[in-house]
Symmetry: C2
Subunit: 158 residues, 2 copies
């Protein structure tokens, strides 16, 4: 069971980069290189986020992408919904009519309850919050030697 697909994963990390470099346009190329994501695939993800009003773009040389909202206003839940669709329990939930099978209904009821819990949790996690955590994590290892810096590169890049 995969909680996040590549698209959502890439989207979140791209947004974190945009959040870290707020005020300037960041190109898809630089994101794809720095975060090790396939360039064209990432571009598709970015365009999807434009369509949803999360980011804006500028064409041409020195163009790129920029957050269109405050980081605290962009929640992981919304990203999951954009790239993976609404959380659903089997197909049952699509039917407007009363649930077809009683045992399925009882089951569905339980799952929906859990769904609410999950939604609530994901709602809390915003790009803003993640950015603060990233910052905190960075500050926790400030005094590295050269050798340790190499290790920290491993932590960052691969």
């Amino acid at each position: 069971m995969k909680v996040l697909t590549k698209k959502t994963d890439y989207a979140i990390r791209a947004l974190l980069m945009l959040g870290a470099k707020r005020g300037s346009y960041v190109s898809a190329k630089s994101i794809s290189v720095e975060q090790d994501m396939p360039y064209q695939f990432l571009r598709g993800v970015l365009q999807e986020m434009i369509r949803h009003g999360l980011i804006v773009s500028k064409e041409g040389v020195q163009g790129g992408f920029m957050l269109a909202k405050e980081p605290g206003e962009i929640g992981v839940r919304q990203l999951i919904e954009i790239f993976q669709g609404t959380v659903q329990v089997s197909e049952c939930m699509f039917r407007k009519q009363i649930c077809a099978n009683r045992s399925r209904c009882v089951l569905r009821h339980e799952i929906m309850r859990i769904e609410q819990v999950v939604h609530h949790e994901f709602e809390q996690v915003t790009i803003g919050k993640l950015l603060r955590k990233l910052d905190a994590a960075a500050n926790m290892m400030p005094a590295l030697t050269d050798g340790e810096k190499q290790e920290s590169t491993i932590v960052k890049e691969g």
Copy 2:
């Protein structure tokens, strides 16, 4: 985002049927007819549950399947893990090494926290608990007229 795949869905509902008819063997055929599941597909699901010790089978005429455990001991979380694998965040979690990308790590940490919440919730939901709810739901509509009984058939079958 699908919480339950068909396999898990079918597994749970098959177990509910076995739970409702405890003490006797129930054939794959009767489950597939009564619960409207594809016969061969269901059989695969049942065999998987045998391998995991949740149910036992008897071959031949009058054969079928029977719970191997108390309904209260069979949790939905276990079923999800059997049929959908452990909950994971993208691929990141497979690597034993320290997480490749710092922002991915921060993200992962948040997701893992939510994962714990989800696990805890699913842990609570057992076949036994669902059976009791099913029972309660059935008792809530005891005095139906013929017309209403037809409706209740819709609720049960389709």
